[in-house]
Symmetry: C2
DNA sequence: ACTGATAGTTTGCCTGACGCGAACAAATGG
DNA sequence: CCATTTGTTCGCGTCAGGCAAACTATCAGT
């Protein structure tokens, strides 16, 4: 399909992707635990993710992102408020709008799902030597730089 | 809290974890897309994940894993069969049991959610040089070895 | 000050996914 | 031949989401 440059690169990339996939499978179990024990709905999770990304949004904005009506959103937010995952606050510039944002518990929950496997990875790294960690740190730095240059 | 060995290790680990978290945030968007557009329920996702892990299981086994009754499971599997995500097959050893397994489409869906960001990572790696890729390949090999030794 | 538009809530109503127990058919294994 | 196990069907209930319509409060323009 594609070996534009050197032939060794394709093999290296394949090796790296295989390893990455194995790591994903490992932390998938950690991710599933808080997700399934939270008794959240996928729609509710979507709301929490949107709030985690955008911070504080108005109801109409959120309804627009979700593609649902304002009436439906009211009920969904109500249920999340009862669970203390989001909170409504008055907008200082417009007293009609009620800004919706994550509570501390909501942020923690989303964090525990998204950054799953953090504990596992940490104990895993702690078993390696300083030299090995240095190598890994260089590698991650390379990846992050490449990611940032492509996002910009 | 913990700096048992050399002080440099703690800093290296912190750097690596920070980079890892940034990468997780990036592929989170890729993961959310197939998840939310699939119109799955969290319970349905749980079933698909269990089937992906265990391969083919009987109804009673699956109901036991989920903590629900057999009657409930029948309906849930029915809905997944309609979506062509799982299929029922006869067990050659016991004609009472109908073994439940993922279909090709079900495997693809789970794969697209679990191995999210694969395409993004691949194009990202393709921009790096062979030397940089070699470094990353060494790093991932180290991590995988550490993970395997801890799992064993 | 009036008036039209906008934000959010409430109400009533519907659909679909899950959950159960009970009853049942089919197959197993004594 | 009979108790057990597996899975399905049936009837029933609950809850999350979805809408339209009516309503209140507020804003913004004239």
């Amino acid at each position: 399909m594609a070996d534009e440059s050197s032939p060794g690169k394709a093999r290296l990339i394949a090796d790296i992707m295989g390893a990455q996939k194995r790591l994903q499978d490992l932390i998938a179990e950690d991710r599933a635990d808080p997700l399934f024990s939270s008794h959240l709905t996928l729609s509710q999770l979507k709301i929490l993710m949107l709030l985690a990304r955008h911070g504080s949004v108005s109801g109409s904005e959120l309804a627009g992102m979700l593609g649902i009506g304002a009436a439906t959103l009211t009920g969904m937010i109500d249920r999340l408020v009862v669970q203390d995952l989001v909170a409504r606050a008055e907008d200082p510039h417009d007293r009609r709008v009620r800004r919706i944002a994550l509570t501390r518990a909501g942020r923690d929950l989303i964090g525990s799902i998204f950054n799953a496997g953090e504990a596992r990875m940490r104990t895993l790294l702690s078993r390696l030597s300083a030299e090995e960690l240095d190598l890994i740190a260089q590698a991650t730095t390379l990846i992050i730089k490449a990611a940032e240059s492509s996002e910009a």
